[in-house]
């Protein structure tokens, strides 16, 4: 209900009919061109080379690998995430530029999978970052990976229309919750060099859940990692 209202509000704001055409076009291009960053957190990484290379050829779907999080659109978390890795995955996710999507490959990202009683792996990836698509399986075949990516592309295409595929906005809007989960696992003085709150402010992505008691905790320990501005 609330979501619909929000959409209506947004639609009311944008009266220019061309704006929609433009937005749709960008959505279309976004769905057609996906740069992915595969973070080889686990076994699932082994099925990505087949999906990328000659046999399944991901590039024909407009998906190509990229090297750094800055350029990437999709973060492929390929398998169980150990706690040590999870910190890096979160950093990587925060360093990616929106719209950004997370695909959890392998059952381990859903619920710990085979390693459910391991002390070293985190169990639920979407506690720590919004996940767009899970591809379950141990490990999912390349076909399944491609299927999942296709599903994601569909979501992106209808992004602005149906508010699908915008899970990344959740991270800004509910930052407090995600930060709380992270703090629960890594300790209260956990922080990354990426200033999510400032980013949310700048791009107007704040929601009700952006601030809360966890962000207050963060503010207490956070050294101002403000960018160096030009001084005259």
């Amino acid at each position: 209900m609330k979501k619909e209202l929000l959409i209506k509000e947004k639609q009311a704001k944008r009266t220019n009919p061309l704006a929609h055409v433009f937005d749709d076009f960008i959505d279309f291009c976004q769905s057609k061109s996906l740069f992915m960053l595969h973070y080889c957190t686990g076994c699932g990484a082994i099925e990505l080379p087949p999906a990328m290379t000659s046999r399944f050829d991901m590039e024909r779907l407009g998906i190509q690998p990229m090297v750094t999080p800055r350029q990437a659109d999709i973060l492929l978390v390929t398998g169980y995430v150990s706690v040590k890795t999870l910190k890096r995955v979160i950093l990587t996710y925060e360093q990616m530029q929106a719209p950004k999507y997370v695909i959890g490959i392998c059952s381990c990202t859903v619920n710990g999978g085979m390693y459910w009683q391991s002390y070293a792996t985190a169990k639920k990836l979407n506690d720590y970052m919004p996940v767009d698509v899970y591809i379950a399986g141990c490990m999912p075949r390349p076909e399944a990976v491609l299927e999942g990516l296709q599903r994601l592309k569909e979501n992106i295409k209808n992004d602005r229309k149906q508010q699908k595929g915008s899970a990344w906005k959740e991270y800004f809007a509910n930052y407090d919750t995600y930060l709380g989960n992270q703090q629960h696992l890594f300790g209260d003085d956990w922080q990354t060099p990426v200033d999510i709150i400032a980013e949310a402010k700048l791009y107007g992505l704040e929601g009700e859940g952006t601030y809360g008691k966890n962000t207050e905790k963060l503010a207490k320990v956070q050294q101002p990692l403000l960018p160096q501005e030009m001084k005259l």
Binding site: P69, L91, Q95, E199, P227, K231
Partner: protein, 640 residues
């Protein structure tokens, strides 16, 4: 009393005033004024620059039957205006906060600010004296003055390296002076064609009347004398260190113009009076290598080797000073082509180089003023703190690298064009190699100083005060404007060419005209700025705004960057190139310099020991024996 006399009087008054007042604060404000007045005087003499007239001073001296007189022509004026403007910029720069800091830092340790002011005016005065010289003798006198004035400037820095470098310079300079004296002696002793005066024209006559052998040695002596000052190839080792170790603005002044005095003398003697015909006539051993080719290759190698030495420096001042040596090569290379475009390029490069070299030196001094170091490995990320200095350095390095739209491009373009027209592919490649090396090394300069990781200790520094900023901005404005409209300068160049008897360039406001491909900088810059404009439009109107991030928010392979990580790549910036050429030139030039140094010290030790030897009688005996032997030898020669 003509304008030149007034000018000399002005210089004398300025010299006197600064000498007397040098230790008073008032001098800080006065000194720039004097240089400003000099600029005004030179502007009043603009007729010299545009019409090619000659102003002769009423003042002259008769020594040993030789008349010494002084005059100003287009060439002198051209060099003089560069000198005075560079001095003005330096004087303004050091008049304010810089001088205060210098006093605080060095006054106790032997540095003397008043002496620095004095050294500057002495340098200017002696250079102007040299530029105004009307005959060989006054040239020689001026030459000596310039050498000693530079020496005074160089020893001011209270550091061992500075002293050592200055002494090294003096040794070189004395050697050069000896060579010049020897050349004068040859002219004087050449009884066949010597007519009893040391006017410049005399050289042509003497030269024409000589055999090949003495001709060659005369040319060589002149060349050595001037090349040492200019830092041309075999004599390039003294200059960079000496200039780099000079106190701040002094370095800027010396780096901008001082060594160009060598070029000035070379233009007068070798280009104007010996001339193309003689140079081409002198072949050395092989038939296809004549003096012109040799000089051209010396010039070309001078562009390459010091540039690649500069590439290896990790001290900003030394890097720039080495470039100063290298850029001299372009000037000679252009001039030695003896055609309109090339020589114009060479001459114009003097001005261009002076402008951006001074700007760059001043920027580096500004950085040193704020951070206390010019070590490129200890800087980084200053652009956010000192954005205007960055801008000046950016303009400066674009000029130094010779990229459009700055003035360095214009003069280098002319040199290239001339090499193309003369069909000199290898020289052309050599010149391009020099330019490419320059691009590499200036990027290192700006990257290591202003870009990259900002160090913790520099996080609170600020832009330099306006007294320092104004000369820097002014110089960079010159760099840009003369690049955008080289036609402002080209008339001077044309009259210089006329004065020294070279073909004259056809110019307009935007550049030069030439049948098969000229240059119009207004169009070139226009197209470039149009491109930047479109690029900026694309950048700012497409896409969302960007978020500024802290430098720890950076890709490190997924790793968390923290404050204790040195994440700035500065040392050994071009390792790939160094793997290839590093050993070669490091080894060979170190070796060469060591040979020179040890030979010099050997000779000096030898003489020292002779003087201090316990048995002066032995010395006397040796001298007598040698004298007797030579008398015997000569008489024997006569009798037989």
């Amino acid at each position: 009393m003509n304008l030149l006399d007034q000018f000399f009087i002005l210089i004398a008054v300025a010299l006197l005033s600064i000498t007397v007042l040098r230790n008073f604060r008032i001098n800080d404000k006065m000194a720039p004024l004097w240089y400003g007045l000099m600029v005004v005087m030179l502007v009043r003499m603009a007729a010299v620059a545009y019409d090619g007239a000659t102003l002769t001073s009423a003042f002259n001296i008769e020594i040993l039957g030789f008349n010494m007189h002084w005059q100003f022509n287009a060439l002198s004026w051209f060099f003089a205006i560069i000198t005075v403007v560079a001095a003005l910029a330096s004087a303004i720069f050091m008049s304010g906060d810089w001088g205060r800091q210098y006093r605080e830092l060095y006054e106790g340790q032997g540095g003397n600010y008043g002496l620095l002011q004095l050294a500057l005016i002495l340098n200017v005065a002696s250079m102007l004296l040299l530029l105004a010289s009307g005959d060989l003798l006054s040239l020689f006198i001026g030459w000596e003055f310039v050498s000693w004035a530079s020496f005074l400037m160089m020893v001011l820095m209270p550091s061992k390296t500075a002293k050592k470098a200055a002494v090294k310079y003096v040794v070189y300079a004395m050697f050069g002076a000896m060579a010049l004296l020897a050349a004068l002696a040859i002219i004087y002793s050449n009884s066949v064609s010597f007519s009893g005066s040391l006017e410049f024209e005399q050289i042509t006559q003497v030269f024409a009347g000589m055999d090949k052998g003495p001709q060659f040695s005369l040319a060589l002596l002149f060349f050595i004398a001037f090349a040492i000052k200019m830092g041309l190839l075999p004599f390039h080792l003294w200059q960079a260190v000496a200039y780099a170790e000079t106190p701040g603005p002094g370095a800027a002044f010396l780096g901008a113009i001082s060594s160009r005095m060598g070029l000035f003398a070379m233009i007068i003697v070798i280009i104007q009076f010996i001339g193309l015909g003689h140079l081409q006539g002198m072949s050395i051993g092989l038939p296809f290598i004549n003096m012109q080719t040799l000089l051209a290759w010396i010039a070309a190698l001078t562009t390459i080797i010091p540039t690649y030495i500069a590439l290896q420096q990790h001290d900003a001042k030394r890097l720039l000073a080495w470039h100063g040596v290298g850029q001299g090569g372009y000037m000679l290379l252009g001039l030695i082509m003896f055609d309109s475009i090339g020589s114009a390029g060479g001459l114009m490069h003097v001005l261009n180089h002076a402008s951006y070299q001074a700007a760059l030196f001043l920027t580096v001094v500004a950085v040193v003023y704020r951070t206390g170091t010019s070590d490129l490995n200890k800087l980084g990320g200053l652009v956010t703190q000192m954005p205007l200095s960055f801008l000046v350095m950016l303009i400066g390095i674009i000029g130094l690298a010779g990229l459009p739209p700055m003035n360095g491009f214009v003069s280098k373009w002319m040199v290239y064009r001339s090499l193309l027209l003369n069909g000199e592919p290898l020289l052309f490649v050599a010149a391009v190699l020099g330019t490419l090396g320059t691009i590499l090394s200036v990027y290192k300069l700006i990257h290591n100083t202003f870009l990259g990781q900002l160090r913790v200790e520099h996080q609170n520094i600020r832009e330099v005060p306006w007294s320092m900023m104004v000369p820097m901005l002014g110089l960079s404005a010159i760099v840009f404007i003369t690049g955008f409209m080289p036609g402002l300068i080209l008339p001077w160049i044309a009259s210089v060419q006329e004065t020294i008897g070279l073909p004259v360039i056809i110019h307009h406001l935007g550049g030069i005209e030439y049948a098969k491909g000229g240059l119009d900088m207004i169009w070139v810059s226009g197209i470039l700025f149009y491109g930047f404009g479109v690029g900026a439009l694309i950048f700012y109107f497409l896409g969302s705004k960007a978020k500024r991030v802290h430098q720890y928010d950076n890709y490190a392979g997924g790793h968390f960057l923290s404050a204790d990580v040195k994440y700035h790549y500065s040392n050994n910036f071009y390792p790939g190139l160094m793997h290839l050429i590093g050993d070669w030139y490091r080894g060979s030039f170190k070796w060469m310099e060591q040979v020179i140094v040890s030979a010099l010290s050997f000779v000096s030790k030898l003489f020292e020991n002779m003087y201090r030897s316990r048995q002066p009688v032995m010395l006397l005996v040796i001298v007598v024996v040698v004298a007797l032997f030579s008398i015997y030898k000569n008489t024997a020669g006569v009798s037989s």
